[in-house]
């Protein structure tokens, strides 16, 4: 199963976990299985049309899936998906 790294802002939606494992052979299948298991992530990951929200970047290992095959990108057992929402946080 592939590993999914969950960013701090999404952790409350997955019970505080930093990493998840999920079944699936593509980026889309894996993210949908995350959303099925943790419904609070659904609106944060996916736009109304079923595509990825534009403010969320997803990387297969270190490469943006948008320059690969997007949600269709094939994912192997030992791959890591990194979910990265935009972050603006200096320390006030």
């Amino acid at each position: 199963m592939a590993t999914i790294r969950i960013p701090p802002v999404l952790r409350p939606a997955v019970g505080g976990e930093k990493e998840l494992s999920a079944e699936g052979s593509s980026v889309g299948e894996i993210l949908r299985s995350v959303a099925d298991e943790h419904p609070d992530t659904q609106t944060q990951l996916f736009a109304a049309d079923g595509g990825l929200n534009r403010y969320v970047n997803v990387y297969l290992n270190d490469e943006d899936v948008r320059v690969l095959d997007g949600l269709e990108t094939a994912v192997g057992e030992s791959d890591t998906l990194v979910i990265l929402p935009a972050m603006a946080g200096g320390a006030v």
Binding site: P7, P8, V9, Q44, N53, R54, Y55, V56, N57, Y59, D62, E63, D64, V67, V82, L84, P85, A86, M87, A88, G89, G90, A91, V92
Partner: protein
């Protein structure tokens, strides 16, 4: 009986080629390599523009660095034309250089003729002492230190990230530090904002930071901007700075900064922190992606926490601010691989740094265009801007 030094010199001069300064002036523009063989103190008082400096005492060991090709046309000069004659003999007879000449009359005659002189800027004795650990590094050295002293870096905020970055950039001798911050020092800042201290609670952060920096390194000029960065002042503040250090805590200003820095072609060393995690990247306009290539739109306000309301481990902005300072110094020196097109992800609890690639977006609404085509009206604007800002406040 051995001949006198003067006799040997006369013999050497009869064997080597000597040239008049007027000829050297033409030759230098025709590709000849002009080499000054005087001592460092003499070089420091002025030299022929474009000349390389190889003191006669290091000639044999250092000339190859300046002139690796032995067929290169080389003109040597000293103060009066004698040491350069000896040096020319060494290059020709001992080291096999094929086309070497010595300038008659030396630098004294050159100056008397009224030809151009370049006076190198040198570090003071105190600066040589203060920056001695930099001077020992080949990647910095006197030239690199001079670049640092000439550099102008703008810190957006004297807070969690700006405090450590500002302290170390000042210590490193970055000659001009601009600081934009409209806030005053609060006791709760001192857990991480190490440029301030307990006696300055209530003092404007720009004043407090200036005091610390001046005490640390009087070489540094501090420009204070006690304002909140916004569309009404960004184009007055940014021009003239070489690099911006960004630790902005909100998206509208983050996009505004991006667009202004692309328009002005100023690199931005950016960091963000949340909880125990930090991100860092260098956005160098047109060399790599910009912030909009990475995040074309911000998240909705409820998913965009700022650090003010959240906890932050005090040392984390220290770590990230110093990574920013390191990137700034690398950019100034032109050394190493800056984090351009890469986003570093630091996890303090796991003690790991991962990175992901950031690609330039060929359709980026800002950096796919010519800098002059970016207008005031579109700077800092993004889709659903009004809704975002309504949700954020």
């Amino acid at each position: 009986m051995s001949p006198s030094g003067a006799e040997v010199l006369r013999q050497i001069k009869s064997r080597i080629d000597e040239v008049d300064p007027a000829v050297v002036r033409e030759q230098s523009s025709n590709g000849a390599l002009i080499v000054d063989v005087r001592e460092p103190e003499e070089w420091g008082t002025g030299h022929i523009p474009g000349a390389k400096h190889v003191p006669k005492s290091y000639l044999e060991s250092r000339i190859e660095g300046a002139a690796p090709d032995r067929s290169q046309h080389i003109v040597l000069y000293c103060q009066s034309g004698n040491r350069s004659a000896w040096a020319a003999r060494t290059l020709i007879e001992d080291l096999g250089y094929e086309h070497v000449e010595s300038m008659t009359g030396g630098f004294t005659l050159w100056k008397d003729r009224g030809y151009d002189v370049e006076t190198p800027r040198t570090l003071t004795a105190e600066q040589r002492d203060r920056y001695s650990r930099h001077l020992l590094l080949p990647e910095v050295g006197p030239e690199g230190q001079q670049k640092l002293l000439d550099a102008k870096v703008l810190l957006l905020g004297a807070g969690g990230l700006g405090s450590p970055a500002g302290l170390y950039l000042a210590a490193a001798g970055v000659g001009t530090l601009g600081i934009v911050d409209d806030d005053t020092v609060d006791l709760s800042n001192l857990q991480r904002q190490v440029i301030h201290n307990s006696t300055r609670v209530g003092v404007p952060k720009v004043d407090s930071a200036e005091e610390t920096i001046t005490e640390l390194n009087p070489d540094v000029t501090v420009n204070k901007y006690q304002v909140r960065l916004g569309p009404e002042n960004i184009m007055d503040i940014l021009p003239g700075y070489d690099i911006v250090v960004d630790g902005l805590d909100n998206f509208p200003t983050r996009y505004l900064l991006n667009d202004a820095s692309v328009r002005l072609q100023i690199p931005v060393v950016s960091a963000a922190i949340l909880g125990f995690e930090g991100q860092l990247s260098v956005f160098k306009p047109y060399d790599g992606p910009c912030y909009r290539c990475l995040f074309p739109t911000p998240p909705p306000a409820e998913l965009a926490p700022s650090c003010g309301a959240n906890g932050v481990l005090g040392v984390l902005p220290g770590t990230m601010g110093l990574l920013q300072a390191t990137e700034v110094i690398k950019l100034i020196l032109g050394q190493g691989d800056p984090a351009i097109g890469r986003l570093l992800l630091y996890d303090a609890l796991a003690a790991t740094i991962n990175e992901v690639k950031i690609r330039r977006d060929p359709e980026c609404p800002i950096c796919s265009r010519h800098p002059e085509a970016i207008s005031d009206e579109e700077m800092g604007v993004f889709p659903d801007y009004d809704a975002f800002c309504a949700g954020a406040h």
